[in-house]
Structures are given as C-alpha cells and as structure tokens.
C-alpha cells in the first residue's frame, strides 16, 4: 500500500481553542482558502481538559453574532472566594481586597472547555474547514531548503514488535503552504520545532504544572452554580507550589482540581495523591458530600508566561497557544490567550498568503494578548524562584499596588526536570489509603477517564536509553515516574526476582508530564495509533 498525499492551503495540528480559532478566522478572512485540521483525540474535545473559568471576550471577537447563542456560556461567575488552606482542617479566607487582581472573575463564565471546543468545531465546519479527529500528526515534513511544508499522519495496524498487521493502513502526507502547530502544552512536534528552529533562543526555559481535574455530580444544598473557589497552601507544602480550584457549574456539576507546579523538589512527592487528599479539606469536602465522581483526568499546563514564550513564526508555519506558551500564569487562564493567538496567526498567514509584507512580531506586540502577558511577566517566575509565601506576597504587591508596572523582570532559569533533590528517606512521603468516598486509587480513576489504546501496537512512550529508569533514575530519585504519572503508566515490578521497568502505555492520559519531568530527559512522548487516549466528556 502506497502513502497518499493531499494539498491544502493551511493545515492545523490540534483541535483545541488555539487551532480551532485559527481555522475559523482563516475561513472568515478568505472563504476560498482550503483549511484542514487534525486532532489526535477520537473526537474534538475528547482530549481537552481545563478548569475552566473562561474570559469570553475573544470568543465574541471571533463570532460577534453567534457567541451569545453558545450553549456552553451558561454559568456566569457569581461568587469568587480565595482560601488559604493553612492545614488539614484549617483555612483563612483571603478578603477580596487582598486577592491578586488577576484572580477576580467578574464577567467570566464557568464552562467545560471540551464542550466549547465542540461548539467552535461546528462553527468551523459550517465555515468549510475539513476536520479530521482520530488522526495525530506524527511528524512534520520539510523541503530541501528546510522549510516546513506539511505533516504526516501515523501508520495504523502495526503490532507491538513493529510488524504490519492484517489491518495495516499507511499514514498520509498532508502538504500545505502554511502549517500551524496548536498541540497544547508540550506538543511533541512543537518540542522538535522549537529545538530545530531555535524558537526559544534568549528565552527562559519553559515552566509547567500538572493539573488534575474531576467532575462530580452533586445533590446537596451547597451547590450554587456560578460559585468559584480557589485555594492555596495545603496539601502542598514547602518545595511545592500550586493551587486548588472548585467550580460549580450547570446540571449539578462541580469541577474540582489541583494544579501542582512541576518544579517540585521532593522525588517521593505524588501529585495524584496530593490531589486525592485535597478533596478531604472541609472547604472542599462540603461541596462534594453525597456526590458522585463522574470523570477524572490530568493535563500539563504551560505556565512560564511571556519570559518563556517562544518565537511563534518560522519558515513555513506557526506555533500557537500553549504549544508556544501563551497562557497567562497570573490567572492560570490560557483558553482566551489560545483563542487570541489563533486569531493572530490566522491574520498573519492570511497576509503572507496574499504576499503582503508583514512582520509577526509587530502584529503580536500590537495585540492585547501581548499587553496582557507582559503585565503578568513576573508572576510565575516569582513563585518559582522565591517559593510560595514570598512569591505570593511579591505578586500581590506587584499586581495590586504597582499594577504590574515595575520596571524589571524576574526570571527563573532552572528547567523543571532539574529541580528534584536526591532521594532521601528522611523526606519520604506517605499517603493514606483511599477512602473510596472522596479519595480514590488510580485504577478506578482511570476508568472514569475513558482512556483506551489498541493494545497490540508499539509502546508510544519511548525511552532514549532503556536502562536509565532502573539505574540513574532509581538510584538517585527512586524513579519518580512511578509517582508523577497520573495514570500509573510507569511501574517497577518484580519479575522473577529482578526489578523490571514496566510501561502500561494503554493507560496513558496524554498529559505529557513524563516528557517534562523525567530528571534524565529520557522519556519521549509520541502519538499512539489514531484515536487512542482519554475520552473526556465535559472536561
């Protein structure tokens, strides 16, 4: 069987807010352009996981007539609380005037980003975009001059050993005048492009967090659609920053989550377990009582802000959204930034396809996205560098007193994979067993993510050196992959009296944490056979 190829004017990799926005904007600017969008999830939205408190302005910019009818914008934020959890049962309410300005949510909506993406994808199809879910872009194609000229999708029907099965179906080349990469946090093609085109030259290393989320259906008097709760502090302690959230939205649903910065230092730390503990705090528990957990998932967040934002244009294409790092870390909101970056990319590409002279940097610097990101430039770095208390105080002073106008920039040069201390039994962490009411184990959680991969296929988590997990990583850090992976993919098991490093690839949630946090940078996330991965609904 031969590989086939097809040409489009523009091909977009990834059906999150950034990719979908650029697809729509391109067709709005020029209906004659042929635009194709590939999504690795089996449906648009099935790999999307977000909080989410959503700033709707950009959606109205993109669809001035239709956005008001978007069924996802149902629950305006009604109440906005921030608690500092000082211990297992203790908390202090942070008064509104003391809250960092960026955490105020008036005018925003509580949504499921997956559902919003589904709605935007319907708009995109009405505009004539060809959308193909279930097909990951496996690699990008270049011509002799080094210009990116499109992407290839992966082959299907290959067995564990790499042989063709009866169902073998070759992938396809999709060629395009411009290729847009919108893979979200730690895109696997984005990572290669950044390296190959030096897009991060002069930038601080990108910083990430892992965000956990569960949706609960609750039936109690405490449910109050529109209420937003943010927390800082417990269960995260020294050496770990992050924060919790709990949003009441429609149909008696509550979204609860914990974001854990991936520059944590203790190798025995388990972000999954921290999240399970978090739900037991009285400030959170009261809203989950007598409720039922209906979904679970996790996804990395790109949160270095403008200091780490890579150059977004290169020869033959663009990299946008969280793939490039457009999230605003002071708000931990990236959806509206992703939409904006998609629109900017479309405007730029529309111009250059018309052979107008245009510099993307100028376009970007004149945008409200740039303004927003520039103002919050010190947020994430201050947290990372000074730790939680001093960082938070700094951020409060800068954002509420100096209104983000301080004339200097704080930078954090350490990569997240380099932050682990050596394994030390003194700091070993023990977590209580799941109570199966509020806290659960990984197996039952995974079941709710709907994750599924064809079993007889090559392992999509590739180790550059297969010996490292049991040598360097085990000796120095007790192989932290056993704890940072939210899906229990990595296990050291006993096989005939010897240690064996097992990769349960079929459980993978495509969160990309292993690719980011592995202290030896030895794990490479690659896309599995099309359609594999979580099947998130309403996340």
């Amino acid at each position: 069987m031969e590989r086939e190829s097809i040409e489009y004017d523009v091909v977009i990799v990834g059906g999150g807010p950034s990719g979908l926005a650029s697809a729509c904007k391109l067709k709005q600017l020029n209906p004659n352009l042929s635009v194709c969008l590939l999504e690795k999830g089996s449906e648009i939205g099935s790999h999307i996981l977000s909080g989410a408190v959503f700033e709707p302005k950009t959606l109205f910019d993109l669809f001035p007539d239709d956005a008001k009818d978007c069924p996802t914008l149902k629950t305006p934020v009604a109440k906005d609380d921030l608690f500092w959890l000082t211990g297992e049962n203790k908390s202090i309410k942070v008064p509104s005037w003391l809250m960092p300005k960026s955490l105020h949510n008036k005018g925003n909506y509580i949504i499921s980003l997956g559902e919003l993406c589904q709605w935007i994808s319907e708009k995109a199809m009405e505009l004539g975009v060809d959308i193909f879910p279930g097909f990951p872009a496996q690699s990008y194609l270049k011509d002799e001059s080094g210009r990116v000229i499109g992407i290839s999708t992966g082959d299907m029907g290959i067995d564990k050993e790499g042989n063709q099965k009866g169902t073998y179906t070759p992938g396809m080349d999709i060629l395009a005048k411009q290729t847009i990469f919108a893979e979200g946090a730690r895109g696997h093609l984005g990572k290669q492009l950044i390296r190959e085109f030096n897009l991060d030259e002069g930038k601080t290393p990108q910083h990430f967090a892992i965000g956990f989320k569960e949706v609960w259906e609750v039936d109690n008097d405490n449910h109050s659609p529109g209420d937003v709760v943010h927390t800082m502090g417990w269960p995260l302690n020294k050496g770990t920053t992050g924060g919790g959230f709990l949003y009441h939205f429609d149909n008696k649903r509550v979204a609860v989550g914990l974001i854990v910065d991936l520059n944590y230092t203790n190798p025995s730390h388990s972000p999954f377990q921290e999240f399970q503990q978090f739900k037991k705090h009285p400030k959170i528990k009261q809203f989950l009582d007598s409720g039922k957990r209906v979904s679970y998932g996790a996804r990395a967040i790109t949160k270095g802000g403008i200091n780490s934002l890579v150059k977004m244009d290169f020869n033959g294409g663009m990299i946008i959204g969280c793939d490039a790092g457009t999230l605003n870390p002071s708000k931990i909101k990236g959806s509206h930034c992703a939409l904006q970056s998609g629109i900017l990319a479309a405007e730029y590409i529309h111009k250059i396809l018309n052979e107008e002279i245009c510099d993307f940097d100028d376009l970007f610097k004149g945008s409200s996205l740039y303004q927003e990101l520039y103002k919050s430039r010190n947020f994430s770095a201050a947290m990372h560098k000074f730790g939680f208390y001093v960082g938070a105080a700094y951020n409060f002073i800068e954002s509420n007193i100096f209104r983000n106008a301080l004339p200097f920039t704080i930078k954090d040069e350490q990569r997240d994979c380099d932050s682990l201390n050596l394994n030390n039994p003194l700091y070993a962490k023990e977590y209580p067993a799941p109570d199966n009411v509020l806290s659960f184990d990984i197996t039952s959680s995974l079941f709710l993510s709907g994750t599924n991969h064809e079993e007889d296929q090559p392992v999509h988590l590739k180790l550059t050196d297969p010996s490292i997990p049991l040598t360097r990583n085990k000796e120095l850090f007790d192989e932290p992959a056993q704890r940072y992976c939210p899906a229990g993919v990595y296990e050291i098991i006993d096989k005939e009296g010897e240690d064996y490093f097992q990769i349960n690839a079929q459980n993978c949630l495509h969160c990309k944490t292993c690719d980011i946090k592995d202290p030896s940078q030895n794990i490479n996330w690659t896309p599995p056979e099309g359609g594999g991965g979580p099947n998130y609904i309403g996340m």
Binding site: T153, M172, V294, F447, N535
Partner: protein, 253 residues
C-alpha cells in the same frame, strides 16, 4: 448481487454508560458514539465479497437522527459504495421490530439478495432484529456466523454458526440474512484518504414518516440502572491454571 449492511450508531463501548436520573435513560448528551462493533464486522465481510468480485454493490443503511450520518460516513470511508439514511426527528425509542420493518422496506426496494448485519448492537444487546427481519421478508437466516463461504454460482452460502454446543455448519439458499459474530474477521480502519473520498460518495436520505411504519413501542422499559463501579478492580489472567487458582482462592469453586 447487491448486499445491504444495516449499521447502528451506539454509545462507544469503551466509554462508561451513565443513567440520567430524570429521564430514566442512558445519558447520551455529549457522549462519544461509534459504529456498533458487530456492524463493523458486517461491513468488512461485505467489502471482502465486493473485492473478490462476488458482489456488485454494497449499501449501508442506518436509522436515526442527523448525527447518524457520521456512522454512515464511516461505513463509506471503510469502502461501502453508497448509503441510505432513514431519518427520524427525535431520539425515538426504536425497538427491534420497528427496525426490522424499516429494513424490510429498504431491502425490498433495493431488491438486495444478501443482508449482512451484526448479531446484536452493544447498547441494548437485543439480538432480535436479524431474526425478525428474516421472518418479515422470508429470507433464509444464519445467526452468529464466524465463517462465510459463498458458492461459486452465488446461489447459496455455507456458514459456520457459533452456538452454545460448539460450531454448527449450515448451507443457506439465497436470498439470505446473516448476523455476524466476533470471530468472522478483523474490520479494516477507515483511512484518512478514504474518509476524504467518502465525502463525495452518494448518501440518500429517506424520512421515516414517508415509510408509514407503525413505531408505537411494543416493549415497556420498567427501570434503567447503572452497573456498580465499586468492585471493578479487574485482573488479567494469562492461563487457565491461574484462573483456577484465583477462583479457588475466592472460594467460589
């Protein structure tokens, strides 16, 4: 010889079915849907027959709301020649007898000699439609087939049926209906180029109301409950011996 392949859009078998307490139905809002796996096997078998030159045309039929077209497009992308979409206005509770009557109508209209369909749909697991259909149109019937051999003159087909006592071999005279089991074949993927091409293949829409079929429910649903999730911790077992030991330990033997 024309082959008709009825295909059903069902809740993706890999996702968890949830019950909406208000409607007392499985909640399909935003749920991931897919072609019933047995229907995929039926499509694969029809395509193999077409490729071997034994069939002149393959036609997929599906009944449902607008979204059902996605499932027909999948069949077209797998390689079926054309599709017939019987459109219903709402999520009508179509029961096996209704489906059989609708299919009977289409099969007569198309004068199809062979109907290949799934033995059951994984949502309701009724396992009735093929049987009822054969009664309605008086075609020979082979259920649960795991092997299918068309005679050289295409007048009959030898099938193996998976039955409780083992495998039963039978000869059916055409016209015939077969309902397929899991082991018959491994369905192909809908490849990206074929998905693109499928967009221009013919898809005819028929309004259900135009067929004048009585769709009054014959079965009453008493209650719908979610299966428990508590004891779901499962374990993969690699040999019969291990299974025996496990069961022994659980004290169930």
């Amino acid at each position: 010889m024309k082959i008709i392949i009825p295909v059903k859009r069902v809740l993706d078998p890999y996702t968890q079915a949830r019950v909406n307490n208000q409607t007392q139905q499985v909640d399909l809002t935003n749920a991931k849907m897919a072609m019933n796996p047995f229907c995929e096997i039926a499509v694969e078998e029809a395509l193999t027959l077409k490729e071997s030159g034994s069939a002149s045309e393959t036609i997929a039929v599906s009944i449902g709301t607008d979204k059902t077209v996605d499932t027909l497009r999948t069949a077209l992308a797998m390689g079926v020649d054309r599709a017939i979409f019987v459109k219903t206005d709402s999520e009508l509770d179509l029961q096996p007898l209704h489906v059989a009557k609708i299919l009977a109508n289409i099969i007569k209209r198309e004068e199809a000699q062979l109907v290949i369909m799934g033995k059951q749909a994984v949502d309701n697991d009724n396992n009735q439609t093929g049987q009822m259909l054969s009664g309605l149109i008086d075609y020979s019937l082979g259920t649960f087939i795991s092997k299918f051999d068309l005679s050289a003159d295409a007048s009959s087909v030898e099938v193996c049926r998976e039955i409780d006592s083992g495998i039963e071999t039978r000869k059916l005279n055409l016209p015939a209906i077969v309902t397929v089991d899991l082991r018959l074949n491994e369905p192909r993927y809908a490849s990206l180029p074929n998905i693109m091409k499928a967009r221009s293949k013919p898809l005819e829409t028929i309004e259900l109301s135009s067929l004048e079929i009585d769709t009054a429910p014959r079965i009453k649903v008493v209650s719908v409950e979610e299966s428990g999730t508590k004891d779901r911790a499962s374990k993969q077992i690699s040999s019969a011996e291990e299974l025996f030991n496990e069961l022994n330990q659980m004290g169930v033997l």
